[in-house]
């Protein structure tokens, strides 16, 4: 175990170096490019045994990574935004073919307009493809999550791919002090990868990617849903094991001063760091404020979120993307749905924020808690869907 200074990208590349995947097929895109570049440097220096395929697009990156995974190799790639969008066609194929690909995904806004800065529209846009989504708040989490994701995705009761996110530029390019583990400890933690039904097991040839007509497609999608359900317990189990081995335990989400909170926000990624400071300030003023930092978005831990929020009086869900459903952002929709069964459910509102890298400061978070306090005071929700920091 050493303490080092690393940016989010460097930390994820370092995790990849220690994982030492068999194949990486990748393409550059801001702000994930460095992960690919740094890893290519490891390849050039002989620090990994990886077969590195410098593909000609992200569509080919995911296609080749999937091919390698089906062939029995531990395969990884990394991307952002438009790159992920270009991969969208292949993402559901990867989960259907049960390929446990782990992919660092640096959250960047989807075009248009073209914007290279952080928001969650890229991964939220890909939330329906049978991939596990794990959000990292900071560089330490980015490193830890990539390593855990290998065990989660490859677990016998899961075997679906996983993307691990960081906030573009905010974390990907932010240098922080983190602890990295010894190479051998990471190696021991992830173990060997052995794929059941590998394409290259020529003694037992398989057809992977067959055509299904109306009589089989449904039955072939159902197991992916089951795998996603199974993933929840596996994520918790691996999070505990990681804690025992490396000293930092992980769960589906982090509750910060939430147990006795009257007002709370639900937030993903780096903004949680800012929110934590605001909660502390409010608590100093004896305001019972709390925060739920959601780590795992897919599978969506509805029951656990409902339980954690059930005693609050008003909740604001922060969405760093707009799904344009006209009913608010994706996290809001799902949290609200989770609270449906709770008898004394809190009032719930949505704050869409930070699109295209729009900065969110402590003042902004304060205004959210102010709004929640007003809701409790008046008993009324004036505006369910709010845009934080937008110039109207």
């Amino acid at each position: 175990m050493v303490t080092v200074a690393k940016t989010g990208n460097e930390a994820m590349a370092e995790a990849m170096r220690q994982i030492n995947p068999d194949v990486v097929a990748a393409y550059p895109i801001t702000p994930a490019t460095e992960i690919v570049m740094i890893f290519a440097g490891f390849v050039a220096d002989g620090l990994v045994d990886t077969e590195f395929v410098a593909v000609e697009s992200e569509h080919s990156a995911m296609s080749a990574t999937l091919g390698a995974s089906i062939a029995g190799a531990r395969a990884m790639t990394a991307t952002s935004s438009q790159g992920l969008a270009l991969m969208y066609e292949i993402l559901p194929i990867a989960s259907a073919l049960r390929a446990p690909i782990v992919m660092p995904e640096v959250n960047r806004a989807l075009s248009g307009p073209i914007n290279i800065h952080c928001d969650h529209s890229d991964t939220m846009g890909g939330r329906d493809f049978g991939w596990i989504h794990i959000f990292s708040e900071n560089t330490q989490e980015a490193y830890d999550n990539v390593i855990q994701a290998v065990r989660i995705a490859e677990h016998a009761s899961v075997r679906i791919p996983a993307m691990v996110t960081t906030d573009g530029f905010i974390i990907s390019h932010c240098m922080e002090r983190i602890e990295t583990a010894d190479d051998q400890d990471v190696k021991n933690f992830i173990g060997e990868y052995k794929r059941e039904n590998s394409l290259l097991d020529t003694a037992h040839p398989i057809t992977a990617g067959a055509l299904d007509l109306q009589d089989y497609y449904f039955e072939h999608k159902r197991p992916v849903a089951e795998a996603m359900r199974n993933a929840k317990d596996v994520i918790i189990e691996i999070g505990k094991e990681f804690g025992k081995k490396f000293g930092r335990t992980y769960d589906l989400f982090e509750k910060y001063k939430l147990d006795d909170a009257d007002i709370a926000i639900v937030v993903l990624g780096s903004t949680a760091g800012t929110a934590r400071a605001v909660v502390d300030e409010l608590r100093d003023k004896r305001v019972k404020a709390g925060m739920l930092k959601l780590r795992v978005f897919r599978p969506f831990p509805a029951a656990e979120i409902a339980a954690a929020l059930s005693k609050t009086k008003a909740v604001a869900v922060m969405d760093r993307s707009d799904s344009f459903s006209s009913q608010g952002g994706p996290v809001f929709t799902e949290v609200r749905s989770a609270l449906y069964e709770v008898p004394m459910k809190p009032k719930i509102v949505n704050f869409i924020y930070g699109l295209g890298g729009r900065d969110v400061k402590m003042n902004d978070i304060n205004s959210v808690y102010d709004a929640l306090q007003k809701i409790i005071k008046t008993g009324k929700v004036e505006t369910a869907i709010n845009y934080l920091g937008l110039r109207e």
């Binding site: 194949v23 999937l66 091919g67 040839p205 398989i206 067959a210």
Partner: protein, 313 residues
Amino acid sequence: MATLKELSKRKELFTPGHRACLGCGAAIIARQVMLAAQSSGAEIVVGCATGCLEVVSTIYPYTAWAVPFFHNAFENAAASMSGVEAAYNVLKRKGKLSKEMKFIVFGGDGGTYDIGFQSLSGAMERGHDLLYVCYNNEAYMNTSIQRSSATPLGANTTTAPVGKVKQGKEQFRKDLTECIVAHRVPYVAQTSVGFWADLTRKVEKALSIKGPKFINVLQPCQLGWGYPADQTIQMGKLAVDTCSWPIYEVENGVYKISYKPREKKPVTDYLKTQARFKHLFKPANAAILEKIQADTDIRWAELLKKAGEAPAS
């Protein structure tokens, strides 16, 4: 080269029972390639783009492939198999695999000339050790005959149809084989259904070479081209005898014509046999026929020159 007798004794790795149309040229190509490939002595692993071949041969729970077969999507067969080949290299290097394997990728002209062009180009440029076989029926046949960049001038397709003001496709087809030659890969070839010995020899040669190889096989399609289903072989020969589809190979940049028709037939001999060209025989379209013949002659002359052969006098 494996003799016909040897080939007839080999295991069918592309088995009967698939759902291809009566007289389908793609099934002929797949079967012959898989027989020829066994000359390499290696395990064969097949990749395939979405299209006729994939659709007719892998309707769950059945498969016509007695070898590992991977279908991913429409435009990424070459990229997908690049990943498989990379996995093979590293797993072999790590001692996790010991068998010798050869990778063959099938794609129709749709998945190869058009939507799959980028992925093919990337795989060729990166030097992956695989053989890409394009079964070229000159249109997107699986979705009912839409034009591709492989469709010849004047052909009737559903997206460049013959109507009151249009006479079919208005562009000459793209020369993909030459595009791949420009990638400077070790082996590129063109052949046609009906030349089983040529296809066999080319597949054997390709698989004996390390690096990216590409074979473009003209595949008559009775449904899309409009001719009697039992004429597929004859159609494949007529295309070559009229120099509409020359068969040749380029090995390390050196051109060699595989077959020169003893008597170069007029292109109309070929065009008149197919419903997709029948409108060209209206007097008003005589100029189009001339254009086709002229273009055929120019390309044939260019090829002869590249192969260092004197033009026919």
